[in-house]
Structure formats: C-alpha cells, structure tokens
Amino acid sequence: MRARFLISVAGICAATALSADVAYVTCQNGNVLSVIDLDTGTQERWPLPGQPAGIAVSDFGIFTVSPDTKEVRRLDPVSGAEQARATLEGGPNGIALDQLRRRVFVSDWYNARIWVLRAEDLSVVGELETGAAPAGLALSPDGRYLASADRDADQVSIFDAETLMQLARHRVGLRPFGLAFADDGRLFVGNVGSDDMSVLDPLLGPLTTVAVGARPYAVTFAQARAYVSNQYEDTVSVIDMGTLETIAKIAVGEYPEGIDVTSDGASVLVANWFENTLSRIDVSSLTVVEQWETGDGPRAFGAFILPD
C-alpha cells in the first residue's frame, strides 16, 4: 500500500481497470483503524483511541468518531497523521461529510442534536436539533439534503445542507439507525427495531417499507440494488431498487454492520463486528469472494471506502 501511495503522490498513477480503493475500518474494541488496500489486500493498523465507530472518508481527510472519549479526528489519508481533533461533550456517534461546503456533521446520541463542524479544523460552527438519539447521518448525492436517523424517536430529520434549516421530519419504522441516499434521490433507512427498511422521498416522506433481515443496521447501493447488513442474522439483504423485492440474502460474517460500495460499483464491503473480518461481496455473483482480518470489533459506521 505504501508503494501505491508513493506512486500516487508522484502523479504517475496510471488508469487501471482494477479497483484500488482503500477501506478505513474503525475497530471499536481494538482501538485501531484497519486501513486495507483493496487491490493488494495489504493492511496497516493505525492506533485510534477512544473506541472508534463513526467514519467518513475523503481525499482531504479521514474523519473518525470515538464515542468513549467523545473525540472527532481528522487524519491524513496516506500517513494517518492527526490533522485536527475536537472533543464534543455529549455522545458523538454518526458522522457525515459535506465535501462541497467543507462541513462535517456529527450526531449527538444523548442530546438530540447534530454538531456542525468546519472540516479543516473541526471547530463547531453550529448545532441542529433532531429527535431523540440521532445515529446515522447521510448527505444526498446532489448535496442538497442532510438526513439523520433519530433512533429513539422512530423518525428521520431532513435538513437543507446549504442553509442548515430543518425541512421535514418523517416517521419511519422502529429504531432507525443507518441510512443512505440512493443516486435517484430516495432515502433508505434501516430500522433495527422492526426488521425493515423505510424508503422515503426526502421532502414528501415515506414511499414504502420493505421487510429485510433481523436487525438491519446500514445500507449501501450498487448497480440498482440496495444492500442491507442484518446484524442478528449474519446476512446482507439484496433488494432490487425498481421492484423493491428481495433478490438474495448473502451469508457474511457474524454481526455485520458498516457497509459500503467500491468506486467501480463491483463490490460491496461489510464489516463483521463479532468476527473481526471485512467481507467483499461480488455484486455480479452475489457471493462473498474475499475476506480480510481486521482489528477487534470492526464497526465502519459510515462511508469508509476511499476511491483511489
């Protein structure tokens, strides 16, 4: 991986058909960040204190949340050097990045709010009010909306990502936790308490509800399908985004949690919290084709794959 980074830095990185993305996996029980080159499989483990869970990655920084020490960090994507750190009094938890406006959003599990931070130095520039126990956060692909899953309020809150005004609150299933916007603008929300997934228009509200597996945790998308990690079932549900029917349930490791897609759309990666592995699902065969060991307790709660 080191070699690849050197090549990138030198600016002679050739276009390649291979995905050479990097996965940054927060390992909560082991207090490390597993940094895995998805091309070579080589891995570094960067020390990351405070039982990290939330993650949001980009070229200008890897942003992590350590709920135990209430810290948010910005790390250099290549060296891992800490570039900024903030302590947020409360229960920092989920995190999302607004690349366009260089803002970072962090949910406060205990105080029904979202902190708005400047991405550069992680200084707090605002707060947004949510329902009880906000967990997952997501930005819409067009940069218009910020959504939070307000777990103990059984709702999602929608904000204008530019003005930071609240636009809507929508009732969803029980205990929404992870959520993500599809490219078509719809918002998909995993409800851990009702074993289903709410599909919403961010402004108009719920469109439908889709049954998935036991304790759906987080969702991502690849090639017109939604992939949902089912914590208590050791599976990933694959949902056709047109018909919203379940196409497959793929057996993965124990306690699957964070889930994200590679930049070429060919693979979905899921972190298996109990088993300390990261599974790679091939989206054409819908099977697990590769598995990497991680540090102890991988969560990877957020966008954790950085495109090369």
Partner: protein, 181 residues
C-alpha cells in the same frame, strides 16, 4: 432539566421492560471457551436444550415455552426459588451445528448489568479428542446514558458476563473432566 430527562428515561425503561431503548455508546463482546474430555455429542446432550439451564450452577430453575423452536422463551431463576430472573428468547438453533443463539428480553441491570444482550453457545470437536465449548456474548453496558456509574459501566458489564460464562464452563469441566494431553 438533565436530571428530569434521566428520571423520565428510568421510568420509561421500568414501564416498558424488554423494549430496546437507548443504550451506551460502545457494544462490548466476550468470548470464553473451555475444553472437556467428553465427546461433543455428549456435551451437547447436556447443554443443548434451551429449556434446561440446570447445568449452570447459578440457575435454580428454568421455565419456558416453545422447546427449541425459534422464538421459544425461557425464564431462568437464579440462586433460589425467590431469586432474581432473566427472561430470554431463542433466535437460532441447530442440533447439527450444536449451537444456539438467544437474546435477553428482560433483566434488572442490578442483576446483570447489560442491555441489548445477545449470545451464542456452541459445542465443537476438539483436536485430539473431547469437546470445545464456546460461549460468546454481545451487549451494551447497563447504564444507557453518558458517564455511567462504576457498577454499570463497560468494564462492569464485561466482568459480569465473563463471570457467568466462566462459572458455567467450569461446571462443565467438573462434570465431564478436562481432556488428557
């Protein structure tokens, strides 16, 4: 204000036992294993019944419904007839894999300081003969809010679950013997 919201949280939790409300920030896990001399099938015959926890020294009685079917329930009474109870539900069971998985639906955190607890109990063949018994759990600490008291923090939850598992596994070694080298 803060005190009031904590109070309300406590009242809600008391009024709605078994419902999964707020939990601590960090899920904990414990895996303990032991090795015994008996064959896996013999050990599974002793511990592979969801309705019977009599092999565990802390269990005074087990009552329940549904046998070993998914969604079967049991209530374990601890220590003595009037002892505290733990209510649990079965969500995976396989005689073939010699493994079952269950969740706690109701327990006083003063009895076992955990929330959102799930667990697997598995018997596997041991290399060189005998059986390996593995007991693993995933859970949050007993105190769902920020800055927990010491007896309800992450370390206390790990210690309590570890003690339960260790006592059960030790009893199996006593019953079936340690494997020879």
């Amino acid at each position: 204000m803060k005190r009031r919201s904590i109070l309300i949280g406590t009242l809600l939790a008391a009024a709605l036992p078994g419902l999964v409300l707020a939990h601590g920030p960090t899920r904990q896990k414990v895996t303990l294993t032991t090795e015994v001399a008996a064959a896996p099938g013999e050990v599974w015959a002793a511990i592979g019944h969801f309705q019977d926890m009599s092999w565990h020294p802390a269990a005074f009685a087990t009552t329940g419904d549904g046998g070993n079917e998914i969604d079967a329930t049991r209530v374990i009474t601890l220590g003595s007839a009037d002892g505290p109870t733990i209510a649990e539900i079965l969500y995976k069971f396989s005689d073939e894999k010699m493994s079952y998985s269950y969740r706690i639906t109701e327990v006083d955190v003063e009895v076992l300081p955990v929330t959102n607890y799930s667990s697997h109990l598995t018997v596997k063949p041991r290399d060189g003969g005998g059986a390996l018994v593995e007991w693993r759990g995933a859970f949050y600490r007993g105190y769902p809010n920020n800055d927990p008291p010491e007896h309800l923090n992450d370390a206390a939850s790990i210690a309590a679950v570890s003690a339960v598992y260790q006592a059960g596994l030790d009893a199996l070694v006593e019953r079936f013997g340690a494997p020879g080298s």
